[in-house]
């Protein structure tokens, strides 16, 4: 007899329906799975056989053939265990047929328990968009994730028996409901900017980065607070919208990083991979391309501490996502595009020994060494970083303890206003933040005139700024002007922007 059960699989942050067909015929006992299954899917045979037996059913003695259609789509993972088991039970008449509105996903343990899987949200989102009143059957632990989307009935189960009982109307279950809004706003505040004492220059740079979507380089000795500052950048960005949150959560779902307690990522992500990371882990990949750190940081902040310690090819791989806000990972099996739009924050020491600009320890590097060290940072990657800020290590305990520091909330308000101005400005354009402006946009939206222009030209010459610095200065000046709600770019805005190009200056050897 033949039975059909619907299932689905995540495909990047999207999903595809998979039809699981099970045929049980007489003949010598065998169990075949066809339809481009990988090893994990092949192993389903052993899990399903035991799960069926241990749930009080009998496993058919004849030829069992399972086809996963479309056969051209490669399948991986353990999520087909449940639909295969249901198919076998239906095909052998141990259960009535499975209605076509049911989409089942889940891994089976040998005892028949249903285990959670990764990548549920993309499937749920896909099904809700299809609008065919699908019912999604999941492991109990996966239900919250599935219920994040609207217009979809999601049922959670603990055991294979439970699914069969429900399908034969022996028990009654209601679909999982979830208060999305509550979950969305329950994220709680992250780390706050007011916890950082002093570091006015660093904080100001964060504000500009947040306002204009500029990438940032923090240069400072160990212990100067680079990491502390970077961690607080997400708190300065406007909160995620629900749609953005779902988008981010989908990526984390595919990567298997969601937990039952935290099914929705409502805060902007902050990812800080260690410098030993491989290029595949950073940009995504593997035989079945999984999202990398750049995608996990989507709509948030990617922080690379000790940026110079990262392998060259790893840093170079950042260029595509920085340029296009997404990353396409091509493998022999498939090609998948993940979104990867983030603010990049790099941090590095100011010199090889690390103590240049430290008030307590003296730096032992020669200026040649420092120049060589800084040259390593330059190149195509630095070209995409608008703000370069020196973060000195200062003892502010006395001065700062009295002073009240600004909270993230206060800064975020200014950032919001500046972003509104940008939204207005770029209406109908392909970009929406100053940080994305190319030279062509700069000419249109970021003109400098009069005194500001004179100052910029004089500075270019006497500070020996490189040509690439020119455009970066204009971009940052535009954002500073937006923060001040100024229509035109003023002298002050240019002057400040120039100070965020400390690596572009050709320092005379002092």
């Amino acid at each position: 007899m033949l039975a059909k059960v619907l299932s689905a699989t995540a495909w990047g942050v999207d999903a595809r329906l998979v039809e699981v067909e099970v045929d049980v015929a007489s003949g010598l006992p065998s169990f075949q799975i066809v339809g481009l299954p990988d090893t994990a899917v092949q192993e389903a045979r052993e899990r399903v056989r035991s799960a069926v037996k241990n749930s009080g059913f009998s496993f058919p003695g004849g030829r069992v053939t399972v086809n996963l259609a479309p056969a051209s789509l490669k399948k991986s993972g353990s999520e087909f265990d449940l639909p295969i088991a249901l198919g076998i039970l239906a095909a052998t008449g141990q259960m009535k047929f499975v209605p076509p509105s049911v989409v089942a996903l889940g891994e089976l343990s040998l005892s028949g328990e249903i285990k959670p899987i990764a990548g549920v949200l993309p499937v749920a989102h896909f099904l809700s968009l299809e609008g065919k009143n699908y019912r999604l059957f999941l492991a109990q632990e996966n239900t919250k994730e599935g219920a994040l989307v609207e217009n979809l009935e999601v049922y959670g189960f603990h055991h294979l028996n439970e699914v069969c009982d429900f399908l034969q109307d022996k028990i009654n279950l209601s679909p999982t409901t979830l208060d999305r809004e509550a979950l969305f706003s329950a994220g709680g505040e992250g780390e706050d900017l007011s916890e950082v004492k002093g570091q006015r220059g660093g904080k100001r740079a964060l504000e500009i980065a947040a306002a204009g979507g500029h990438h940032l380089l923090l240069i400072g000795p160990p212990g100067s607070g680079k990491t502390m500052l970077a961690r607080r950048l997400p708190s300065l960005l406007p909160p995620l919208s629900l749609d953005e949150a779902i988008e981010v959560t989908k990526i984390h779902s595919v990567a298997g990083f969601l937990s039952e307690e935290r099914p929705l990522i409502s805060q902007r992500p902050f990812r800080a991979p260690h410098h030993t990371i491989s290029d595949v882990a950073l940009i995504g990949g593997g035989q079945w391309p999984r999202p990398g750190e750049v995608s996990l940081a989507h709509h948030g902040v990617l922080f690379l501490d000790e940026a110079l310690e990262f392998r060259r090819n790893v840093l170079e791989a950042l260029r595509e996502p920085l340029e296009g806000g997404k990353i396409t990972v091509a493998r022999a099996s498939t090609t998948i595009t993940y979104p990867a739009s983030f603010i990049l924050v790099l941090a590095c020491n100011p010199c090889p020994c690390g103590y240049l600009g430290d008030t307590k320890k003296t730096c032992t590097c020669s200026y040649q060494q420092i120049a060589r060290y800084r040259a390593k940072l330059s190149g195509p990657l630095l070209d995409r970083i608008d703000l370069q800020v020196e973060v000195p290590r200062l003892d502010f305990s006395e001065i700062a303890s009295e002073k009240k520091e600004e909270t993230s909330q206060e800064v975020r308000e200014r950032v919001k206003k500046a972003r509104q101005i940008q939204t207005e400005r770029f209406r109908g354009e392909k970009i929406h933040l100053n940080g994305q402006m190319s030279a062509r946009y700069l000419r249109r939206f970021s003109p400098v005139e009069g005194e500001a222009k004179k100052l910029l030209e004089a500075s270019m010459e006497s500070l020996a700024l490189s040509a690439r610095a020119y455009h970066r200065i204009l971009k940052v000046a535009r954002t500073i002007a937006d923060l001040e709600q100024s229509e035109t770019i003023q002298l002050e805005h240019v002057a400040e922007a120039i100070h965020y190009r400390s690596l572009d200056r050709k320092y005379q050897e002092p």
Partner: protein, 360 residues
Amino acid sequence: MEEKDFWIAFNHVMGIGPTRFQKLLNTFGDARTAWRAGVKELSEVIGPGIAQKVEEERKKIEPEKLREKIESKNFKVLTLQDDDYPSLLRNISNSPFLLYMWGNLDFRQFDFFISMVGTRRPTPYGRKVTKILASELAREKWVVVSGLALGIDGEAHSSVVQEEGITVGVLGSGLEVIYPTSHRRLAEEIVEKGGAIVSEYPPLCPPRAENFPPRNRIISGLTPGVVVVEAPKRSGALITADFALEQGREVMAVPGSIFSPQSEGTNNLIAQGAKLVQNKEDILETLGFSSEKTRKSGGEDSHLQGDEKELFSFIDSSGIFKEELLQLTGWEEGKFFRVLLSLELQGLVQELPGGKVFRL
């Protein structure tokens, strides 16, 4: 074969310095005899270890060819026996028994020699002082001696070269191994302008760390006075000052901020009695030349007004972080950066890697 060839040969034996060489001369009369003496005789004079080394080297070195090779590279060899050996250097207790020289400098034709030394990591202030003093001295036909190192030394040499003056670089390595290599071009310019690069080490000798302190005795020994521009607490420049005192030469120092680590050594020198140098005239006076003071020190900010004057007053030559300046002024970022940039464009202050701003 000339006697000189054997001097050069002995110079190529590791462990033969001025003292041992003098002992050899005293015992054997001349270097030729010493070179050909038996190991036993040698070891009685310079000990068995060094004697063994001489024995090994004797097998490899052919004195005449060695000299020809050195001369073929246009290096001169000045021995203590030569008339053109620098006379001031002859008077110190352990004068090098020979000097290799690159360049056509005849020390006898010049009367005024001065050494200028300092840290390899100067502040913009130290660099500026060096530039002013060295160029002024060069214009008055003084020969400036220094160590061709990075920082103050290099600045002194290049300032003199720019004035088309004569300057002498004393190396801690062989003449063919200019160290630091980035000063190769500077060394060539020094020679082109009539100056010289000298060394007591064989031309191919690498820059060994232990060579540099003895090298400093030659810098001070070549001149009647040493000017230390900037030197942190433990600095080679201070070793040069010590040698100068030992050799009975004048020690002069340029004062600096009490907050600047680069001036710690020089300020200490002044506290111990070194002559304080504010301008070229102070140097000339110390060396016994009377002169009228022409330059006044300080007063560069007199034309500044308002915000610029206020900000400038917080910035000194030992540097201050922009972060601190922001705190001290209490200004908004826009105004702060506008005024700072204006000072920078006027060439009054300079920002360096690390986030510090220095007064120039």
